[in-house]
Symmetry: C2
Subunit: 463 residues, 2 copies
């Protein structure tokens, strides 16, 4: 008894922290293979991956080679993409194929798809024939489709089988699958007809026909279904696995919740990336140059647009010389207009999600945004009026100028809120990613239009 | 056979779209209870919830009352929070408690916690004693802790039991739990000692001791663990359920992956909310006034800070009159500086996550940001120089001014990138939410400091 509790404590105590990484790093320097293997044997592959992610490539490679093939596979899929790429370059095709063979088909496909073409071919050739064919089939699906994330191995029985037969089938595959949550029932054309939860196998007589305990209200996807939609379905219906079938309902594979959790994390990160203008996801192992490359494209586009803005402003030179005070308030109209637009854009992007949009709903949503922008405009203009009145002398900023400023703010908020809400819908209708609307391009364009509105009003009324 | 395929087709065909909602709305107007009940019987609770979310409160309430208690419970937890609140106001305590009784303890707790105190007490009183006590216990945990999202019902056996005994236990609770993925093994002090996967129950002899098939490498959390950390653990270790134990390892409950998927979605949304300055999550059923209230706080803070900015600018009035051209480029330094800062801030926020930070890592990360900002600064300044040289006459914008502009841009990018990366770390160390660093407060402050740097340099060199 006490031994068991001890074991739990040990599991709890070994946590990845800087000290453990430091120690492992020293052990690697001393080439202390035995000690390292002992430590790794007590760690979860996800923890080993976290440690290796924090080592330089030399040390990472030394540590990785100490792992048995099964652990190596599980560690490999958890590593940062860059490090994985570098590690795999140092390993021969034979070893890679031995490692890949231990993986589920979906993970195996992910690894193979990242290899240079020649190496990938060599690895595929060395895999056992069935696995190699499965992977080749999966490689054909787009990375972000149901086909791209599904596992083509699953436990199934034919519909004329019994519960006993189903249990036999599970026993046959017990080694192959780490976890089995349900088994699929197919007819003799391999079409999916039902799903059986393991619970039902345990709570019903062995001789009962499998069809009598299966769920027939099936929720499934096609291999071309977007991974985001798969995630939305599994979230909505609280599923731990979802079957993937072709257009004839022939069973092709299944997607499990752990892969979908990754998709959800990925999609959320992508939305965030777009808002702040990162061209790709940045990983902690990325080099300085890669990070620059990820961040620069949108910064450059923003810069170019703002130069355009400067050109426009230079055309107002005559006006600005006379009403220099107008320049003091340029940051306000830009900042508040920009924020209002981004707020309505992101709310729209998130509410659109992967759903279809209905015309009636669009009208309703836009109507709401119109009211919201009116209210916010009135509140913000009033605050602005009071603040300017309080903090600026009326010689510097006249009442009539302040009124025009507030009117501009009201119009700009109205305009940018409506654009923020409308652009994602238009993009979606055009089959483009609505999240672009939150990016620097639309934001900078809004800046320009906002300033134009402001300066036109000022020039018109004041000169 | 063909009948089964038909049934699948039907399941596939009934999808929630505007037409179905329209039809249901008409049926409600005609009080066609029978037809409605027929339609609802063929729909998943999550779909019924989606439909009801799109109805006004009168119709929603009519539809909701047609549901049996079990379906009503499942629909209730999927409804938008606002609508749920309004619906529950129209139902008496007796009915609410009948509905709540059908729910898992975690969901029951969520519902009860949203009720006005008096009604909550009345509902708790009418629940059966065990359920009522479970809910009361769960109500004591913070909403965003493991205790706040755990279910206190789970299937367990004592460690001296056999596989046969475990199967018996599952049969006993078969009705109570929709899905069972594993059962927990406790010692006689109710301490968790292992987890058994249903697969192991099916693939081993019935007389074998349960301890011989249980996993002892346990990963568990305490009721006070932050829900974000729970999600990170379940994601990292690919778990479908995680046990919650107290400090003596006494089993308290379990958290399932479907609840964690909600947490992940929630946390990603929260990060996004903070970037764009929404004070709360906005739901599609929110009223115009609520939406305004959600969006205004950060807009107001931004506005006030930018007024401060205008005040600072007005102090440079003398300089600006002489070098009006400086104002044309204010939007550039603001926009590019702001974007650089937000990029490094969000990358830092996402990489910090729920992990502990190690000093050595901090130094490494900041060092990287320094290099990145130098490279990006050089690239962007060069582009800016070329663009200004190409598009502006040298009478308007002199070479020496352009050089100062580019120098300012370089310094501002350096400054805002470093601030963007450093502020999240400081906030985290102070126990605050690092994501604030991406919010309008920090962004506006960066605007101000950026403009100050720019105008100081211009004044210093040009006048």
């Amino acid at each position: 008894m006490s031994e068991k509790i001890d074991k739990i404590d040990v599991r709890d105590v070994i946590q990845v922290d800087s000290e453990l990484i430091e120690n492992i790093s020293t052990l690697i320097e001393n080439q202390a293979k035995e000690s390292l293997m002992n430590i790794f044997a007590n760690l979860h592959p996800a923890d080993i991956a976290e440690i290796i992610n924090n080592l330089n490539i030399e040390k990472a490679s030394f540590a990785f080679e100490l792992l048995d093939n099964e652990t190596a596979g599980e560690v490999l899929i958890e590593l940062d993409e860059n490090l994985r790429e570098k590690l795999l370059k140092r390993i021969d095709a034979e070893t890679i194929s031995d490692i890949v063979e231990e993986l589920d088909t979906d993970d195996a496909t992910d690894i193979v798809s990242e290899l240079p073409e020649e190496l990938a071919d060599a690895v595929l050739e060395k895999l056992d024939r069935e696995e190699s064919e499965d992977v080749k089939k999966l490689l054909e699906y787009p990375e972000d489709s149901a086909g791209g994330i599904m596992n083509s191995d699953f436990v199934y029985v034919y519909e004329d089988n019994t519960i006993k037969g189903a249990i036999k089938e599970i026993r046959k595959h017990a080694e192959e699958f780490e976890h089995i949550y349900h088994i699929y029932v197919l007819n003799h054309s391999d079409q999916l007809v039902g799903i059986v939860y393991l619970k039902s196998l345990l709570t019903n007589p062995l001789r009962q026909k499998i069809t009598s305990v299966m769920e027939e209200d099936l929720i499934y996807v096609n291999p071309n279904t977007d991974q985001e939609e798969v995630a939305a379905l599994m979230d909505k219906y609280d599923l731990v696995a979802i079957p993937v079938v072709d257009s004839n309902k022939v069973m092709l594979g299944r997607i499990t919740i752990d892969d979908v959790v990754d998709v959800i994390n990925e999609e959320a990160s992508e939305d965030i990336q777009k808002i702040v203008g990162l061209s790709e996801e940045q990983e902690s192992s990325d080099s300085v140059f890669r990070i620059s490359r990820i961040r620069l494209p949108w910064l450059i586009i923003g810069l170019v647009l703002e130069v355009l803005n400067a050109l426009i402003l230079s055309n107002y030179e005559a006006s600005l010389t006379q009403i220099l005070v107008a320049t003091f308030f340029m940051p306000i109209v830009m900042a508040v207009g920009g924020s209002s637009g981004t707020q309505s854009a992101i709310v729209m992007v998130r509410s659109l999600g992967s759903k279809e949009i209905w015309l009636k709903e669009v009208a309703k949503k836009l109507g709401k945004e119109l009211f919201v922008s009116l209210i916010n405009g009135i509140v913000l203009s009033s605050i602005l009026f009071s603040l300017v009145f309080l903090f600026f002398s009326q010689e510097t900023v006249t009442i009539s100028f302040t009124l025009i400023l507030c009117l501009s703010l009201q119009i700009i908020i109205l305009f940018s809120t409506m654009m923020g809400a409308a652009i994602p819908i238009v993009l979606k209708k055009m089959g483009l990613d609505p999240a672009i609307a939150t990016g620097p391009f639309v934001t900078s364009s809004n800046d320009i239009i906002g300033l134009l509105i402001y300066l036109s009003l000022v020039t018109w009324f004041m000169l």
